[in-house]
Amino acid sequence: MSQDPELLRRLLRAKDRMDAASHEEWPVRRLARVTGVSEAHFARSFKEAFGVPPHRYLLTRRIGRAMALLRDTELSITEIAFQTGWGSLGTFGRTFRDITGESPGAIRARERAATHELVLVPACFVSAAHRPDLTIAVSEKRRLSDSGTKGSEETEVS
């Protein structure tokens, strides 16, 4: 379905703002204000434009940044969790595993072992290329993997 390019340009602004500060909280209310539309309209049109609900987009950005920090810095996993916007180490580790299928420690060990020839590519493009692809909801992914022994602890804002 076709969308108004003028609205898309303003939705892009909200997406850019999340990219620039993914460690911050981005409730739909705040994003809708950036775009200049109602909250309901924002959530619906963002998903239509970019293929994922805004909250899920934010999670992939945070995990992508955490992956880069695991790879490129000596920061501890706790430090990385707080720097990338998680309120607790538990939530970070769980979401990280749900999205990437591995624990932060395992990814760090594997990335360290591999040699990288990425220096010649501008960092932003590298980060886009390494962004985890989250095509289903985290809660859904969790449900699929652990046959539902306990309920999801987070509610996704769509």
């Binding site: 898309l8 997406k15 850019d16 970019f50 932003c124």
Partner: protein
């Protein structure tokens, strides 16, 4: 240099708006601004790069049918066109100057990988990286 790539076109949503942006905010010069009926061939040039032109093109007829043109306008507005890079001597100074002129930055200057880079968009949604040239 007489051989090589000398023009690449960008899709923009409005040529007047794009011209103002690239000339007044980025310091480019107009190379060609020619009209033929409703069609306008518009290219700009970086002042230090006389062998290269950036075309500011509209997705529209007679080049494209209406549905394709609409799809392209949506793609540009979503920021899904390929990345562009503007090399500068001093990224932080260029950032300050461009920001003062009202350029919409998407990323503040960050020092990494032996250089400094920032990010901005043109009014249409085309994403640029502003990267300090390695010396």
């Amino acid at each position: 240099m007489s051989q090589g790539v000398n023009m690449i076109g960008l899709y923009v949503r409005d040529q007047d708006e794009a011209l103002t942006f690239y000339v007044e905010k980025l310091g480019f010069r107009v190379h060609t601004d020619a009209r033929n009926g409703d069609y306008r061939w518009l290219t700009v040039q970086h002042p230090d790069q006389p062998s290269f032109q950036l075309g500011l093109c509209m997705p529209e007829s007679p080049m494209l049918d209406a549905a394709t043109a609409q799809t392209l306008r949506e793609i540009v507005a979503k920021g899904a066109m390929p990345p562009l890079v503007l090399a500068v001597d001093d990224c932080r100074a260029a950032y300050e100057q461009m920001r003062a002129r009202g350029v919409e930055f998407t990323q503040e200057p960050v020092a990494r990988f032996g250089s400094v880079d920032a990010g901005f968009r043109d009014p249409s949604g085309n994403g640029w990286k502003l990267i300090e040239a390695r010396r």
